[in-house]
Symmetry: C2
Subunit: 155 residues, 2 copies
Amino acid sequence: MRTPITLTPIGYVKNSRSGMKDDFWGNVISEITISDNLLEECLDGIEDYSHLEIIFYLNQTDTGNKIYKASHPRENPEWAKVGVFARRNKDRPNHLGLTIVKLISRKGRTITVQGLDADNGTPVLDIKPVSKEYLPREEVKQPDWQTELMKDYWK
Amino acid sequence: MRTPITLTPIGYVKNSRSGMKDDFWGNVISEITISDNLLEECLDGIEDYSHLEIIFYLNQTDTGNKIYKASHPRENPEWAKVGVFARRNKDRPNHLGLTIVKLISRKGRTITVQGLDADNGTPVLDIKPVSKEYLPREEVKQPDWQTELMKDYWK
């Protein structure tokens, strides 16, 4: 049943970040140039959107046989242990990262975006435009620790 | 450089949908049971969130060597041709689907969600909780065709 799935990067993140640091991503500017095997026109019309969703591969996290026990977010014992699917931690099954970014510009095969929380060299797997209709249609609720954890994230 | 990446489903979508239809997803109820190789506690704490992001694999789309030319959304000639990264079309490089759903309940290894636009049997690659801080921090703009296309999507 659990057939493996093989994906190929469509491009790579180019920015000034390294070391997978926790915070201060809000002003980070990144470029993504789509791979040579894709047509430049794959990006046509993207300028009509203000925001994009970037799915990327966290290639620096441990890919060993982990069992993903519930744990304290950011190893903070004041926050209760939560499971890997109740947090957006980098270290997770399939190592997928996912972030909404602001589109700054598109030039040929390259987009420039703001607020992508991925290090330089990170493989990109997909780019989707943010459509208002795909955002939550009801009030969003989350635990207090999540709000606290994000305090400096976009600074 | 473009090293292939291998992922393994963490579960599969169980619902009443088939045939990859375009619209009427809003009331669809789906179950996702996480795989036996993952601990049940991977879902601990997920009940504290109202919404989740589901990344899934569109296994019914053509996986051949496509070049993804710009095309009319829904083959509607009244809408201008756009590139694959300027639309959320199912047929795309890496075949990744991505949708915010409403969490209805969690029971052991199973979550029940509303509004997942994926057919029965679709492999799930990741579950992330929706955090308000990850939603767009500025006004979202999109082309008119996108708004029109989504008219009946969540009905």
